[in-house]
Each structure stands twice: as structure tokens, then as C-alpha cells.
């Protein structure tokens, strides 16, 4: 068990170290002079020299790398090119908005996927199954860059039930459409996974035996659900990446502030420290959540820790 925990944790930390190094390499790979990209070609030599010094571009690559690591280690993540704020404080300002959006989307996804998936598995091949499968196929086919505008058109413009983007009078109501947009693809994937995993379990000999012994259907279903949970959870955690990258799109469409829009704005402004900081933070969140799910597995399922 301990060896398993240690292996998973070390591997995740190694991946994060790789992420940090890759991001550093990318930022240093910027072709041409970042100073020129920032100040334009007409900048005076004094301004350039000042900027070079400020960005520490005259240091050796090794020193720059260590400085980058230092910025990560002291928690500041470096300083934005655009303002004097640290990248960490910029992220801290908007992290709550993105967390709220991601949690709401997760809620949407699980609350739709579980009932639909269970119904589909329970009534396999019949009407509920066909409806759930059709919904899942549709949910997977519609990209969020199109679902967002569609929902705005329907619920914001035509029906006027929910606020339009940029209107933050009612924060909770304003969260509904973004959460639906972000959560739909995940809901579709989870519905399929739940249906598949549960259908497998419901066909297993132990379920047949339990039924034959006259166990109430609800208890049989509960037992099967517990055993079906693992594959569904894994896929759920892996899909979190899609959710994180979806926040960039959804926050842009709905004009919300957050990690995604901070990252995108920094990209357009050539604010490399902020781009690098956001990329490291987002990738690390993703790796850590997947590690957490892996570890949870080991704790819950004896087959994992002993196998």
C-alpha cells in the first residue's frame, strides 16, 4: 500500500517537474527578442536595456531557470509584465470565479449523468436507454463554442429567463448557462460510462445470484453501483482536463473573469510570466486531482493496493 502511494505520488511530482521545465523552455524559446515583442520596434535603447534588466534576460539560462523555480517556490509565480502584481496574486483574485464555475459544471454533469446512466443500464435496449444514449451522443457532438451561444439565444434572448453575458446583477443566475455549457460534454461522457459500467455489473453472476435469492432490486442496484463506480470515477477525473480547458472558452463566451480569461488576456498581451504561471498552475491542478483520484482508489478498493 505504502509503496503504491509513494510510486503514484513520486510520478505525479515528476510530471509536475516536467511541466515546470517545459513551460520554462517554451517561454525561453520565444523566437526573436521578447523585449521587442513587448515594446515594439521603435523603443529607445534605454527602455530596452531597462526592460532586459527587469526581465533578467542577461543572466545565463541556468540562472534564469533557478530564478523561475525560485518564483514558484516562494509562491509568487513571478511578476506580470503588464502590472507590478505578482502572477500568484492575479490568479488568487480570479481563482474563486473559476472554481465556482468548475464546481457548478461538475454538479450539472454528475446530477444529469448518474440518473440517466442508471436508467439506461436498468432498462437496457428500451426507451430510457435510447433516450439517454441519444442525449449523450448529442452532448458529445455539440462543442461548447456553439452550445454557449445557443443557450444564450434560447434562454437569454428568446425566453429571457436568465441574464445575458456581462450582466452580473444576479451572480447565481448568471452561473447557470456557463455551467450548463461547460458541464454538458462531461455529462455525456459520464452518462455513457455509467451506463456501460453498470450494465457490465448487472450482467455479472453475483447480481444474478443476489436476484435469485430474492434480494430487493434496490439493494442489488446499490451493490452493483458501488462496483461500477471505479471506472466512472477514473473517466470523470481524466475528463477534468477538458473541463479546465473548457473554462477558457466558456469564460470568454460569457464574459466572466477567471483563470481562463486571465490566461487568454495574458497571451494576447504577450505577458509571458502570467502565461507561464497560469499554465503551470492549471496543469498542476489537473495532475494533482488525478493523483487524488488514484490514491482514493487505493484506499477504497483493496484490489488496487494489493494488486
Amino acid at each position: 500500500m505504502l509503496a503504491y502511494l509513494a510510486y503514484r505520488t513520486l510520478r505525479a511530482l515528476g510530471t509536475i517537474a516536467g511541466v515546470v521545465t517545459l513551460v520554462f523552455a517554451l517561454v525561453r524559446l520565444v523566437p526573436g527578442d521578447p523585449v521587442e515583442a513587448l515594446l515594439g520596434e521603435q523603443a529607445s535603447p534605454e527602455d530596452r536595456a531597462l526592460m532586459r534588466a527587469r526581465l533578467h534576460l542577461d543572466d545565463s539560462l541556468a540562472v534564469q531557470y533557478l530564478r523561475f523555480l525560485g518564483d514558484l517556490a516562494d509562491g509568487s509565480l513571478g511578476r506580470s509584465f503588464r502590472s507590478d502584481a505578482t502572477v500568484a496574486s492575479q490568479i488568487g483574485e480570479v481563482a474563486g470565479d473559476t472554481a465556482a464555475l468548475a464546481l457548478a459544471a461538475l454538479l450539472v454533469a454528475w446530477l444529469t449523468a448518474l440518473p440517466l446512466g442508471i436508467l439506461a443500464a436498468r432498462f437496457r435496449g428500451r426507451a430510457p436507454d435510447r433516450v439517454a444514449s441519444a442525449l449523450a451522443v448529442a452532448g458529445l457532438a455539440i462543442p461548447n463554442i456553439w452550445l454557449g451561444p445557443l443557450l444564450i439565444l434560447l434562454f437569454g434572448v428568446r425566453l429571457r429567463w436568465l441574464p445575458l453575458p456581462g450582466d452580473d446583477q444576479a451572480p447565481l443566475a448568471a452561473l447557470v448557462l456557463p455551467a450548463l455549457t461547460l458541464g454538458t460534454a462531461l455529462a455525456a461522457t459520464l452518462t455513457r460510462q455509467t451506463r456501460g459500467a453498470l450494465a457490465d455489473q448487472l450482467g455479472a453472476p453475483y447480481v444474478v445470484a443476489a436476484r435469485a435469492r430474492g434480494l430487493p432490486p434496490a439493494r442489488v442496484l446499490r451493490q452493483a453501483l458501488r462496483n461500477a463506480a471505479f471506472p466512472v470515477l477514473t473517466v470523470g477525473a481524466a475528463q477534468l482536463g477538458a473541463l479546465l480547458s473548457g473554462t477558457v472558452v466558456v469564460e470568454t463566451i460569457f464574459e466572466r473573469r477567471g483563470l481562463g480569461t486571465l490566461f487568454l488576456d495574458a497571451f494576447f498581451a504577450r505577458d509571458y510570466p502570467t502565461v507561464a504561471g497560469c499554465a503551470v498552475v492549471i496543469a498542476s491542478i489537473y495532475v494533482l486531482v488525478n493523483l487524488l483520484v488514484d490514491l482514493l482508489y487505493g484506499v477504497i478498493d483493496p484490489r488496487v493496493r494489493l494488486g
Partner: protein
Amino acid sequence: MSWARKLGVGGALVAVFAVTAVVGPWVAPHDPLRIDLAHSFAPPSAEHPLGTGDNGVDLASALLYGARRAGVVGLFVVVFSALVGTLLGAWAGLRGGRLDSWLSVVADVVQAFPGVILYIALLALVDRPGTTHVVGALCVSGWVLYARIARAEALTLREAEFVQAATALGATRGRVLWRHVLPNLLGPIVIQATSGFGGVVVAEATLSFLGLGPTDGVSWGALLDQGSGVLLRFPHVALVAGSAIALTVFGFNLAGDRLRDLLDPRGRR
């Protein structure tokens, strides 16, 4: 012919997309970039069957040119990713050892960046991203999934009797890979490439939508972005572009699912 029927609706949608991507620009009624300020955001008419967008560009023509763009990007990314990923993954799975460990480390690091995040970080490197850069960015993460699939298959095949027999008879590792392993892992790769194509179309559209794609030429994503800006007054622009993307992805997903049922006996339930 029976194959075409077996692939059903998904196959039909993929075929429509493929034909549109090939002949689209030749049959387009107008130049998709021609500006006609007098007829901005006009509803459908005889001259403009799907209406016009910003600056009076013909939407039907933009749609046809956009299909070419999506098709070219999709084809390049999928073919490159599948080729490189399959070869690397199969070789690593067959050989094991240090190459295998390094490959999974690299794959882990690349996959740690969720989709768009990696593309944005990569495109930040170039001054003005062009189609080549977008294709390159998509390939950087594209090969990983194929490598993982090929590696897993190769690990199983390595132990198979016919592979052991070939090795015992003195076949070199390259020959084993080429003659025995690769042909037997093509099924899952083809399935992944089919649904993966739809994913690339969405990724390309998403990048253009966010304004990260090339500014020349026509992309469905950029068209959708333009349409979203005027959604309240002229919803037809977004409707046209969004439906094109969704139908294409739908087709590739469906065709991929169907291929899985046809090719992969383990997937049958």
C-alpha cells in the same frame, strides 16, 4: 458498398464533409472574403442562399471554404499524430526498457496540459500564428493518445504465440514490428483516428473562435465567433457556422462508434 451502408448516418455525414472539403472552394458561388458593405448580415436570398455575414461576405461560400480548412487541418493532424504515435508506442511497447519509460514520462507531461491550455502556450511562441502553427500545436499533443493505444496493444501482442514464434525463428525486431505487430493493432488506431478527426475539427474551430488561429482565410470557428458577436440581431450567422461544426463532429463520433462495433469484438456489449 456494404461498408458504406454499415457505417450508416455517421459515414454519410463524414462523406458529405469530405466531398465538401475537396470540392467546396471550386463550387463556392462567391469569394468568401469579398466585401459588400451594402449587404451586411442580409437574410438568405437567391444570390446568397445562406445570407451574408459581417461586411456582406457570402455565408455559403465561407462555409464551403471553411470545410476545406477544417479538412486540411484535420487530415494533417490526424495522419501525423496517428503515424508518429503508433510507431513510437508500438516500438516502446515491444522493446520496453528505457525508451518505454522515457516515452511515458514525455506523454505524462504533455497530457498534463489540458487541450486548449497547451495550444495557447505553444501559439504564444509565434508572432502571428498561421495554419502551419495551428497544425503543429495540435500535433504536439495529438500523438500521445495513439502512442498509449499502440503501446498497450503491443504489450499484449509481444506475448502472443505468433510473435514469439517469429522471434524464435530469428526475425529482427523491426520485422516483428512491421509484419506482425503493426497490422494487428491497426483496428483500435483506425477507430481512434475516426473519432479523433472530429476532435481536431473542434479544436481548430475553438482556436479560431478564440482569435488564436490564422487571420487570413476562412474558418468555421472564426465565423462562429463573428456570429456570436451579433447573436442578438442576426442569429443566422452563428447558426450556420455552429451547425456545420456540430454536424461534422457528430458524423465522425458516430462513424467512430460504429467502427468500434464492427472492428473491436471487446467493445461489444
